[in-house]
Point group: C2
Chain length 233, copies 2
């Protein structure tokens, strides 16, 4: 039969209304539409997102576990603020996980992986020369994501995506430190080269060196402009 009919074992891609609510709230959190420490009252979210409290609750539970909101018993949920100390902690954990990923990428990467990684890296140089820091920062993000994907390390990948979401507020800080983008590009070059040569130890060392630089830059950025988030709370 050609008619749509019955698809038996098709895993029918159920719409799952809760997912739409999650995507929306997650986006607002990531995009920064919601202020830090802002209260998230379940009833408000219901009317705003056109759904029921049960659904909102499930989504808030998920976001809590992802570290994007905090919930206290009978006191509700609010947007989680990540202070500089915690941002450094998260960056440290990111560093060791991405180092592990780089090591595995050097062992597991396919030719397609390598081509994609080299393409992103090549794309970054003109952006750096033109001083397009936003585009550079975005390419940087994609390069790291592609390396993690090439590692085929599902556990590291899952944890890294969660940690990354928590750091969005600090995402564009390090690239603003004078001289940092140039150093970053040099470090990336060593990293991509090591992965291309299938050298796990050198890839791991390069990634670790690179992310040590990020931690240093993060400290520098935090020192320059007083953190606006920690001022009121």
């Amino acid at each position: 039969m050609v008619t749509p009919g019955v698809r038996k074992g098709v895993r029918s891609e159920s719409p799952q209304p809760a997912d739409a609510v999650y995507v929306q709230l997650h986006h607002e959190l990531i995009a920064g539409d919601l202020l830090p420490q802002q209260r998230l009252v379940e009833a408000d979210l219901c009317s705003r997102l056109h759904t029921s409290r049960g659904t909102v609750r499930a989504v808030l539970l998920r976001l809590e576990h992802e570290g994007l909101v905090v919930r206290e018993p009978y006191r509700g949920a609010h947007v989680r603020v990540i202070d500089e100390r915690e941002a450094v902690e998260i960056t440290e954990v990111r560093a060791v996980l991405e180092t592990l990923a780089a090591r595995h990428a050097a062992m597991m990467a396919t030719e397609d992986d390598l081509a994609a990684i080299r393409a992103i890296h090549a794309e970054m140089r003109p952006l750096l020369k033109n001083g397009d820091l936003l585009a550079y920062s975005d390419a940087n993000r994609r390069l790291h994501a592609r390396i993690v994907e090439a590692s085929r390390h599902a556990t590291a990948q899952r944890l890294l995506s969660e940690l990354k979401a928590q750091l969005v507020r600090y995402q564009y800080r390090t690239v603003l430190v004078p001289g940092r983008p140039q150093q970053s590009w040099a470090e990336h070059t060593a990293l991509v080269d090591a992965i291309g040569h299938r050298d796990p130890d050198r890839a791991a060392a390069a990634m670790m060196a690179h992310l040590s630089g990020v931690v240093t830059a993060l400290h520098a950025a935090a020192g320059r402009d007083a953190d606006p988030a920690s001022g009121f709370g």
Copy 2:
């Protein structure tokens, strides 16, 4: 007034029925009372744990995020089985996180921390000599937990506790590999010594060496007895 009366800002430790359900189910999962791949039907859990579906649902969501159960849309939840490949992945991540923790412990540990760590380590030697492998394995667990605590690294600590829960089924395997406990004790000695001497680099190296040994032992254990979990699925 002296009567109990109203305690204003006391954060009154609300009983939170959902927590009791979580503790119970979490325990059953960890203790292995529930078989791998076993279905967790919400209605069954309700009558067994004397609560409502809303509560059970919230708990299942949380357990899913912790990686202890899997939920598929409209198909329900079941106990997650972790195959050997994933156990190795998790152990690798544990290794790099505990290495980070050891480095910080060497920098941050108080005298109380050091005393506690040395006490646990001293406690392990007679257990090893007497061949009490279960007690040794438990002391080993406590030693690692205490070091992580001493690191004062909340992010690493949180992720490690989740990863650890996922590995309970493999917990006692490595200690059964011949010669492994003796090697383990030697590695621990170097680790405790490095932390005691406030030497972050040496502590990190010792922890990494130790956990590399664990990964090797895990492979050996998996090779010896074919994994019973992966046979039927």
